[in-house]
Symmetry: C2
Amino acid sequence: MNIILLSGGSGKRLWPLSNEIRSKQFIKIFRREDGSYESMVQRVYRQIKSVDAQATVTIATSRTQVSAIHNQLGDEVGISVEPCRRDTFPAITLATAYLVDVMHVDPSESVVVCPVDPYVEDDYFEALKALSAQADKGEANLVLMGIEPTYPSEKYGYILPESAGSVAMVRSFKEKPDAQAAAQYIAQGALWNGGVFACKPSYVLKKAHELMDFAGYDDLFARYDTLQKISFDYAVVEHEPKIQVVRFAGTWKDLGTWNTLTEAMEENIVGKGVLSDTCSGVHIVNEMDVPVLAMGLHDVVISASPEGILVSDKEQSSYIKPFVDGFEQQVMFAEKSWGSFRVIDVESRSLTIKVTLNAGHSMNYHSHQNRDEVWVVVSGRGRTLVDGVEQEVRTGDVIRMPAGCRHTVMAETELKLIEVQIGSDINVHDKQKHAMEREWRAEGQE
Amino acid sequence: MNIILLSGGSGKRLWPLSNEIRSKQFIKIFRREDGSYESMVQRVYRQIKSVDAQATVTIATSRTQVSAIHNQLGDEVGISVEPCRRDTFPAITLATAYLVDVMHVDPSESVVVCPVDPYVEDDYFEALKALSAQADKGEANLVLMGIEPTYPSEKYGYILPESAGSVAMVRSFKEKPDAQAAAQYIAQGALWNGGVFACKPSYVLKKAHELMDFAGYDDLFARYDTLQKISFDYAVVEHEPKIQVVRFAGTWKDLGTWNTLTEAMEENIVGKGVLSDTCSGVHIVNEMDVPVLAMGLHDVVISASPEGILVSDKEQSSYIKPFVDGFEQQVMFAEKSWGSFRVIDVESRSLTIKVTLNAGHSMNYHSHQNRDEVWVVVSGRGRTLVDGVEQEVRTGDVIRMPAGCRHTVMAETELKLIEVQIGSDINVHDKQKHAMEREWRAEGQE
């Protein structure tokens, strides 16, 4: 099975765990059997591989997510990187071209396209296989998954099939209706459209060539910023007469808000927290080192991260976005290709961060024009390169890097540093990359 | 007017703002007219001085609070330090002996004794003056303040006066009753006993000499740990036939729980926070640098500090103590005589703290046996003394102190340091004090 997972934007609706650079699909919130936690992408990827170990998985995403994907899924997964944000039609076309031209998938071998973030069980992936098999038959150009509705939701589009069988031709689509209309559609046998479909790559590429002029993946990638913003529904689905739908009646949850996300959590507390016995329906998701104590609350979600603290009635939590848009704040935590960092102190002329480098990784060789930096190694072993001089470092070592000094560090084991930045104008743009004066033995550098 | 303010224990009921070493009376939570915030002790002290600029104020407290009191009130206030915790009779006796022997107050000049933490207005202090004047008349040995009850509370003792006048002899006392009995007492004209009284120092000392053998303040201080734990009520009030009560009908609030504390707050938010318009009766007290967002909550208090995060229904907040007792946690924030510190990162073999030294202050000259330390100056100017070598330091400077190295720093301006402690056994007991090898120009050192 070939799968394209669409990994979308920043998701402020799950603030303070998601922010401009960390998306909800990377939050480790689901408990594994061994007691550790996995994120939405890790869960979905694990499920795909358990149903089809040979599946070719490609994630269509933006540049900002590449590090997080490699950190969480390893280097084997295919990533189709959108150079900039366009809509779903350019994104699906680019990922399809990647599959054919880079991954060498046969263009007549069907591919399944689905969002990366629904909360589903293994039967969903079995249904994807059925979808793929149906598309291979060639009875229709597109085969959609139709999810059996559990209530007259206003959040989804509806698919009206021509018959009640497990596979049927699509009669018509209905955009997100109000609850009353939704109930009528459901009475007529309508299904939710979860944005999941299968088709042949050759079909997507043919449709793309009708609208855009490009030679192949590389060419499409190069001119991606010139493409029109247009959705797959609008560009393709609405004009296609031969569409089939395959029914799916299993678990399917859209975890877009705290309300729905907490429904999918098996435990009420992730991280340090205590609920008094006068609490009911309360969830705590705490990324901080100190405890959260909740007393006498009902149907409330509490989440704390280095970005801030949310305490919300669960129903109300879906209205979070305008509040988060109003926070003007520097990013306090980020995952990078080489590890992660977290801001631990802010002064007017200094910034102190904790840097964690994964074993075998290093930063770019770089310098800053307007700030001095000091590293104190608080855990692990590695090697620094400072103005061309290489040095072994371990817990307790101190490295000083005045402004202009070129520097990097490579982690032999996991390496943790306290980095103090000193200067009157500390900002993320003050960073110059340099070529190294000597061969550097680090692996995994970028 | 002479006043003894009784400044009590740790107050876990206001966790996470109060903890083992920071008591509720030092939390800066009340807005001043200039927009800054003051604590309970600062508010009470300011109010006393505005009503009677000449008042002699002595705070009876434990050793752990001395630094916080000096930081918040300056060096002029008198402090009677209890060498260890006894009950109110030894504490009041020690403070009275301090007033007479150290502050040279005339033993026949009345003194007012009251708790440091009620939330009151200026009329309360006018009432204290009346109490003091009444005690000076010598019509009774003790003059109590009787607070006009606003509801049949079960939290207070009741005073039954012989008449309804503004000054009356006390007929009897009633210990904390149930609500029904309280209503009956109130119908009979009973008043709340807020633990406020005036009397002559000579009276307290006479009663003390009947129970204890001591020569004066110094002698009492020296043998304080041998004294019996006994309350002033039990030792004195219950046996005294000549007690008067003076009525007080003004504002008087006991701010012992989050519920009552938030009632006294003029604003719903102290620190960074946002309330959605679907919130009602919600208070946020946030000491962290990141925002708290509250949505769809009613009658809830949210408080965040380096110690943890509390989210509680206001009514329920009075049951907090057993939960806080259950937290096994190192102290994450403390005020010291020289400034304050805050833990910002914890690893198995390192601890990173931010140290703020007040201008003109320095630490003890000390060393650690089992840990190295590194200071990075992130703000201000000062001088370090390291193994006898003095050095000027300013923002950006790095000082390394291997285990065994003697060190201190003196702040010329307010000085902020990032201190990284490195070692396999980091604990607060690993600290040896040393005499200095040279004259040190620091003021305010302790």
